[in-house]
Amino acid sequence: MSLADKKKLLEALLASEIGTTALRFLELLVDKKRYDLFTFAAAVYGRLLAEKSGTAKAVVRTARPLSADARKTLAASLKTFAGKDIELDVKEDPELIGGVTVKIGDWVLDSSLRGQLRRMRESFYHHGN
């Protein structure tokens, strides 16, 4: 597949979905053969965006649905932790079994049952070497 074909395909698929700047950026990646850096660029973009908006995004995973009250207290306590306004992104994840995990930037707060079980297993490992 030639570079020109790739660019045509990009335009055909995405021209109606995303802005011209974003499309030009993708084409630049194709031109310079740096498309493997896309995930990296996306991650850096996300961080820059958060910095600019002055808020931090907290990815919250819970085993059960959160009540509105619980959301408020969570957002308030996370604000004191991060020192920024918090934008909550709550999703349910039954795999956690119980409890909650919060991810803000690089930091992960894990108080889920799954995490506790994993740590317990690790403590057995290290005990017996």
Binding site: T39, D106, D110
Partner: protein, 503 residues
């Protein structure tokens, strides 16, 4: 032994009761790219160089590259278990290995995990694998000998405890054999050093054979084998020498003596080159990265002789380098030659012409070992070195088939016999007093009239004769550690008495 389920339940119960870890706060990044034993991780802004990372499926990683937006790490495990987007957690620990007495007699991998099937290693002590070497004030000059048990080396290229002596030569010239002989010879040495044999990038069968040899010789009682085989990922080969060194340092700081053999550093450099290229560090000469000198210098600087105040322990390093077609001017050999305190140069020509160990005595040197040599050995070896040098010069000349005068003929004959005397079988290290006796006989002309083909038999029978009939003289030699006039007369009498009955 019967297994009692209730006991096991009780142990597990106490551990569960003691377990508290409701919430955990950790830094987590995600894998951007993975492959060829390395991974690039996004996030982990506070990661330290050399820190261990936890990846899914029990794979561990070690941070090598800290870049602006990502972290490059090497994986101690299969990269097929890790995929893009996987979470990566910091452990906050710098890479370390278990150390202590429990490791002695064991075969472990580069991370100190047992691979000999003898159960877990019961130790609670750990040491960082990559530490800074002791400084000037902590050291003292090398002053005790490390006997290899090989005549050619102990006499002419003496090694001291705390020295770094390179063993260099082509493949199949007996480099490992010298290393193994040295380990075996430590068995009956005073203040016996603990030996650590680090196998880097070798065939598992070779390592198994080495372990078997050591076991048969009873040398595993004071030896640790660190094995990073050819089939293991490059990061394991890269850390293995540092791990071995860390295990030795534990004993060093206890005031004990340690001998570490790195077999071999050429493969270590190749593994590091692989990692560096995959981490996109710029290649330099022979495609090695710019810091390949530092790679070996920081490892070998950790060999040292500690000052009296710090216990006087020592860590002797015997790195091994394999050359290609006797080319010592390649990149890695020149680097390691310049770092070490001397080299034992093995030659394939000599090996094939039957001179074994195939030590080239002209090119081999020891820059500091002379200070540690025992007095008696110094007394006989000075003459030996001179005789050998004259012989080598003359032998080259004599090749033209020119007529030689009587004195030159005599020198040639002497040299030929000395070469015979310096020959030695594999895995039969000799005690110092025997070495001295044998070299004394050679340099004082007692073997000049023995046919060259019989010199080795002469030597063996001389040893048997000396220990059977003159045990007292040999004992005195060991105790005096020097040859004064009285001792010289005794030795001469001993050899003459033996010669009278030698056929």
């Amino acid at each position: 032994m019967a297994i009692r389920p209730e006991e096991i339940t009780a142990v597990i119960k106490t551990q569960i009761e003691g377990f508290s870890g409701t919430t955990e706060l950790k830094e987590e990044g995600s894998v951007l790219q993975v492959g060829d034993g390395i991974a690039r991780v996004y996030g982990l802004e506070n990661a330290m160089a050399g820190e261990l990372l936890e990846l899914p499926n029990g794979v561990m990683g070690m941070v090598l590259n800290l870049e602006k937006e990502n972290v490059g790490c090497v994986l101690f495990g299969s990269d097929s278990l890790v995929k893009e987007g996987d979470p990566v957690r910091r452990t906050g620990r710098i890479a370390q290995v278990p150390v202590g007495d429990a490791l002695i007699g064991r075969v472990v991998d580069a991370l100190g995990r047992p691979v000999d099937g003898k159960g877990p290693i019961k130790t609670t002590k750990f040491r960082g694998i990559d530490i800074v070497a002791p400084g000037v004030m902590q050291r003292s000059p090398v002053n005790e000998p490390l006997q290899t048990g090989v005549k050619a080396i102990d006499a002419m290229i003496p090694i001291g405890r705390g020295q770094r002596e390179l063993i260099i030569g082509d493949r199949q010239t007996g480099k490992t054999a010298i290393a193994i002989d040295t380990i075996i010879n430590q068995k009956n040495q005073p203040n016996r050093p603990i030996c650590i044999y680090v196998a880097v990038g070798q065939k598992q069968s070779t390592v198994a054979a080495v372990v078997q040899t050591l076991q048969d010789a009873g040398a595993m009682d004071y030896t640790i084998v660190v094995s990073a085989g050819a089939s293991e990922p490059a990061p394991m080969l890269y850390v293995a020498p540092y791990s071995g060194c860390a295990m030795g340092e534990e004993f060093l700081w206890q005031g004990k003596h340690v001998l570490v053999i790195y077999d071999d550093l050429s493969k270590h450099a190749a593994a590091y080159r692989q990692l560096s290229l995959l981490l996109r560090r710029p290649p330099g000469r022979e495609a090695y990265p710019g810091d390949v000198f530092y790679l070996h210098s920081r490892l070998l600087e950790r060999a040292c002789k500690l000052s009296k105040e710090l216990g006087g322990g020592s860590l002797t390093a015997l790195p091994v380098i394999e050359t290609q077609a006797n080319d010592v001017s390649a990149f890695i050999p020149t680097n390691v030659i310049s770092i070490t305190d001397g080299q034992i140069y093995l030659e394939s020509n000599l090996f094939y012409s039957g001179v074994r160990p195939a030590v080239n005595v002209g090119l081999s040197v020891s820059r500091v070992g002379g200070a540690a040599q025992t007095k008696m050995m110094k007394q006989v070896a000075g003459r030996l070195r001179l005789d050998m040098a004259q012989f080598n010069a003359l032998a080259a000349f004599a090749q033209f088939g020119s007529e030689l005068d009587a004195s030159s003929q005599k020198q040639l004959a002497r040299g030929e016999r000395l070469v015979e005397i310096l020959k030695q079988g594999q895995y039969v290290p000799l005690a110092v007093e025997k070495q001295v006796l044998s070299i004394f006989a050679g340099t004082n002309g007692f073997v000049d009239d023995v046919p060259t083909a019989d010199v080795r038999r002469f030597e063996t029978e001389l040893f048997a004769f000396a220990s059977a009939r003159h045990a007292a003289t040999m004992k005195e030699l060991i105790e005096k550690k020097a040859i004064d006039d009285a001792m010289k007369a005794k030795l001469e009498a001993l050899i003459q008495e033996f010669k009278a009955q030698f056929k």
